[in-house]
């Protein structure tokens, strides 16, 4: 048969037409799409029984209730607990991603020992034996005060057990991670005579004046404030945000007042001056419930007139006067301070100035005002018996000089620890326990903390996650994650009512972990004598159950316990000062240094710019490293590949000859970093800003090596009055890379 051109083409066209009319192409397309989806490595989640477990989130101090959805024994989703007084169903980015912390690669799966820079697994007996031996040795040589502990908080049974252990062992060196609550507690003590934390009734306030507090950036109990903000939107409440950079809080505020950073206290005092001069204050409160008003008013009127305050703060005199009138004219005004998420204690005199503003308008204890929330009193263990070694050890001063002659009011000055360790040839701290904290990443001057931890002969970390401090530790005794154990969490983060949450084992512990409480009880037992006698419990769970007493049943049932007595209605505040009144000033306050703006470190000629860190809800910057979902939602104007972006005002950038997206070298007196430029109209010219929460070196590949840790570029600046960490920025320069 001869195949000519004609029949060949006929065959080709006929074949093509026939195939197209047959189901073959459609079947093949369908098959291809199915075949390409049958990869064995695509997981198929198993079905199972669905249950919901009520528990509490401990990832930030905010104290949200959570409802954990499980499928058989797997945690599938974490949601906000409906009806919880703090968050009523809502939850933040970090809380929602909690399952990734439980199952993620950053978990420490067994006790570890650092051998020549490598972490090797060790048995619990081996690890505890090593620590007990060292503790015995120190005690026998009369040096129990050279043991220290850093804890995320000092509230709740676990920190109290740690503190109790140190006390009966003979060491006063207990540290709590600093926050604005340090300064607020001291303010309440000095002005109201009470030992309490400050609670803010945002929900009922109708005019909130925030001196740089990131109320919508993670300050306090974030979800609670978010919901309060939404109510302000509905009812016409006002939010005024005073800060040099337009944070999310400033973006959402009704009025954003840019101010020269560090001068917020001057603005508050100047506003007070206007309120006094125009007699706009609450005369009833000032005349009948306060003392020291006359001498304080003299100080304010003499030094903080609007003209001179305007020079200092950069805010117009007319704006200051308007702010003062609006604030005093509102029905339920509320002033608050503590920059960003409130993780820096800041300047005492600034907090006192803001607190005095609240007092001027009668906002102390009033509905929609500031309340003194008493410290929880359910932990009522008998005073431990102390032996001679412990008594002698407790007589030794603290290494940070807190409570000493220079800083008599401070309780914990963790910011002073690195200097004390690094400046002496033989570290004054020989053994350091770290629980729920990651200071060598999360605190200003993080490098100095890292150096100190390297120098301390034995650092013991209780971390569930392999963070920066855990990596530097000599021993890691991993605790179960918050989804694997019982723990009480009294919350204090600015919430206006006493409330205690309970976490519970939603799943059986996945790894070879032990709770910190159990480890402390075991260590005490192995030391014997009075130390062991102070811990009469079999284990942590029985200690917790016994301590909570009748609250246990409520906590187990609802997940939280709230003080019903202190309802949402305002209660008259009680003042336990010498005068039994609110003290605008007194001898003790006057003896301290007056308000002065905290100056940034560095020489203005060499470093013409000022670097200020900023906090955001999309990046968490404390002990917890951001899980993959949280890093995933970071915008590309904050992180691009592995480069962190620095916010620069276009005017400043054009002076420096820098373009949007261009690589640059950022230098501060503490170091340099490679960054990219992000032009942002929301930042004051002359300032540059980096987010906190990036630049990790540890945790997991989803987090490490991304962006810049701003804490490594910033040093520590002490508040002259208290010794507290007061740094808010540092001088810097930005060059083309």
């Amino acid at each position: 048969m001869k195949v000519d051109r004609r029949s060949f083409l006929s065959f080709l066209i006929g074949g093509a037409a026939g195939t197209a009319l047959s189901p073959l192409p459609w079947k093949l397309t369908d098959d291809i799409s199915i075949w390409t989806q049958m990869w064995p490595w695509v997981p198929v989640p198993e079905r199972g029984e669905v249950t919901h477990v009520t528990s509490a989130c401990t990832l930030c101090p905010g104290g949200c209730g959570i409802s954990v959805r499980k499928v058989d024994d797997r945690v599938v989703k974490i949601e906000g607990l409906e009806g919880h007084p703090v968050n009523d169903g809502g939850l933040c980015t970090l809380g929602l991603a909690g399952a990734q912390l439980l199952y993620g690669p950053q978990r420490v799966k067994a006790p570890m020992k650092n051998v020549d820079g490598r972490l090797v697994e060790i048995s619990w007996e081996g690890a505890l034996g090593e620590i007990a031996a060292r503790l015995k040795e120190l005690r026998e040589s009369g040096q129990p005060h050279r043991v220290a502990c850093i804890a995320g908080t000092d509230r709740g049974t676990v920190p109290e057990l740690l503190n109790r252990f140190l006390t009966v062992y003979g060491s006063p060196q207990f540290f709590r991670v600093p926050s604005i609550q340090d300064t607020y507690e001291l303010t309440l003590y000095l002005m109201q005579g009470v030992r309490a934390s400050a609670g803010f009734d945002f929900e009922n306030a109708d005019y909130v004046l925030s001196f740089g507090s990131g109320l919508l950036d993670g300050w306090g109990a974030p979800v609670n404030i978010f919901q309060a903000h939404s109510r302000w939107c509905e009812r016409g409440g006002k939010l005024v945000q005073i800060e040099p950079r337009q944070s999310r809080t400033a973006a959402k505020s009704d009025s954003w007042i840019p101010i020269n950073p560090g001068t917020e206290g001057a603005l508050a005092l100047s506003m007070a001056g206007v309120i006094i001069k125009e007699s706009l204050y609450n005369a009833d409160f000032v005349n009948t419930q306060s003392s020291g008003f006359d001498s304080w008013q003299r100080l304010v009127l003499e030094n903080y007139d609007t003209e001179s305050a305007a020079k200092m703060t950069g805010v117009d005199p007319s704006t200051i006067a308007k702010l003062a009138r609006d604030f005093a004219g509102a029905r339920k005004p509320l002033a608050v301070c503590g920059r960003g998420k409130g993780q820096t204690p800041g300047s005492l005199k600034e907090v006192m100035a803001v607190h005095a503003l609240n007092a001027l308008v009668g906002g102390i204890g009033r509905q929609g005002g500031v309340r003194a929330v008493p410290e929880p009193d359910y932990i009522d263990w008998p005073e431990p018996e102390m032996d001679a070694v412990a008594a002698a050890g407790m007589q030794q001063g603290r290494v940070d000089q807190a409570g000493g002659s220079q800083y008599p009011h401070a309780r914990y000055l963790l910011n002073r620890l690195p200097e004390a360790v690094n400046s002496s040839a033989d570290s004054p701290i020989q053994v350091l326990f770290v629980s729920d904290a990651n200071p060598s990443y999360s605190l200003p001057n993080s490098k100095a903390f890292a150096d100190a931890f390297k120098k301390i002969p034995m650092v013991v970390s209780f971390s569930s996650y392999l963070g920066e401090t855990a990596e530097l530790a000599d021993l890691i005794l991993p605790s179960p994650s918050y989804l694997e154990q019982y723990e009480d969490r009294p919350i204090a983060a600015g919430y206006p009512r006493p409330i205690v949450n309970l976490t519970r084992p939603v799943v059986e512990p996945l790894f070879n972990t032990r709770s910190v409480g159990d480890v402390v009880i075991e260590l005490a037992r192995s030391l014997g004598g009075t130390v062991a006698a102070a811990f009469p419990w079999d284990d942590y769970r029985s200690c917790l159950k016994e301590t909570l007493g009748d609250k246990w049943a409520v906590l187990n049932d609802k997940g939280y316990w709230a003080d019903e007595k202190s309802g949402s209605g305002g209660q008259p505040a009680t003042f336990e000062t010498k005068s039994s009144r609110f003290e605008f000033t007194n001898a003790e306050i006057e003896a301290m240094t007056r308000f002065a703006p905290v100056e940034p470190e560095g020489d203005i000629a060499a470093f013409p710019l000022v670097l200020v860190p900023y906090d955001t809800m999309r990046l968490w910057n404390g002990y917890i490293g951001n899980p993959p979902f949280v890093i995933k939602i970071v915008p590309d104007t904050v992180l691009k590949n592995n480069d962190g972006l620095i916010e620069v005002n276009p005017a400043t950038a054009s002076q420096l000859g820098l373009q949007d997206g261009q690589a640059a070298k950022l230098t501060t007196p503490h170091g340099t970093a490679r960054v990219r430029v992000h032009l942002f109209e929301g930042i004051m010219p002359g300032l540059v800003s980096l987010p906190t929460g990036l630049g990790h070196t540890a945790h997991s590949k989803f987090l490490a090596g991304k962006g810049v840790n701003v804490n490594a570029l910033i040093g520590s600046v002490e508040d002259a009055a208290t010794g507290y960490e007061a740094v808010w920025g540092i001088r810097a320069k930005l060059d083309k890379a």
Partner: protein, 264 residues
């Protein structure tokens, strides 16, 4: 046979309340088994069904203003269910459900031509360029109610349709005819710490979303409520996500072709 009145599920997002925190994005990822990679900074390929955009009035310091806009799939109805993506899909992998008003996405039918991505004016659709990989142990948190997608298919927000199915199944089983407003809520609505998102049936005047958006169903669902708008209204896509903002510049950005028109 009794004909059930069709639902039309929709969303109302109050931009005055939205703080741009991103909780909706994380809640969505956790609910819907969205994968993650080491570097997610290329936002053109980073899979996120819900995305929060930052809007600016572009004025210089200190007059600059910022607003945040969460953007799920808009579940366009178009004219009688002719949403832009549904009209172009050659594989019927995406369809408009007249009973719920939800635009579906059936992964096993999708063969990755990405025609729908080109057609969608809202960039809600995302292509899986990579195989999803969960580090050892992390696959435990996967939700069995949502199928895991694979390389080569397009995915998008489903208004948490699996939640609707669960509620519907239960209601059918128990013989209930009425589905309570709070029985079916999307993961983002539930998680929003600011309670800025309201979800419900736009056809049901008892539902909050209907009352807030006041859709004019005879006029392509156009909102009648004050300061309420939809994205790219002029395209006639008839989306089911309504936004509220008291800022005029933000409303204008929502429909970038109508400068001046809303003033009339």
């Amino acid at each position: 046979m009794k004909v059930e009145k069709a639902h039309k599920f929709g969303m109302f997002i109050d931009l005055d309340k939205c703080t741009g925190c991103g909780s909706c994005m994380v809640a969505c990822m956790a609910e819907n088994n969205v994968p993650f990679r080491e570097d997610e900074t290329d936002k053109l390929i980073s899979v996120a069904w819900m995305r929060v955009y930052k809007l600016s009035n572009n004025k210089p310091f200190p007059d600059t203003e910022t607003s945040f806009l969460p953007r799920p799939c808009q579940h366009c109805e178009g004219q009688h269910g002719h949403s832009p993506c549904v009209s172009v899909c050659p594989a019927t992998a995406t369809d408009y459900d007249a009973n719920t008003g939800i635009v579906s996405q059936i992964y096993t039918r999708c063969f990755g031509c990405r025609y729908c991505m080109a057609a969608c004016p809202y960039h809600v659709r995302l292509f899986n360029w990579y195989d999803p990989v969960w580090p050892d142990g992390m696959e435990k948190s996967l939700n069995p109610n949502v199928s895991v997608r694979m390389r080569g298919v397009v995915e998008k927000c489903s208004f948490c349709f699996h939640r609707y199915q669960l509620v519907k199944e239960r209601a059918d089983y128990e013989g209930e005819e009425y589905m309570a407003e709070d029985a079916y809520q999307t993961a983002c609505t539930q998680a929003c710490p600011a309670k800025a998102i309201v979800f419900g049936d736009l056809n049901n005047s008892d539902h909050k979303v209907h009352q807030l958006a006041q859709p004019d169903n005879h006029n392509g669902g156009k909102p009648r409520a004050k300061n309420v708008f939809r994205l790219l209204e002029h395209l006639g896509t008839n989306p089911k996500v309504y936004y509220h903002s008291s800022k005029e510049w933000a409303r204008r950005l929502g429909d970038n072709d109508v400068t001046g028109r809303d003033k009339a």
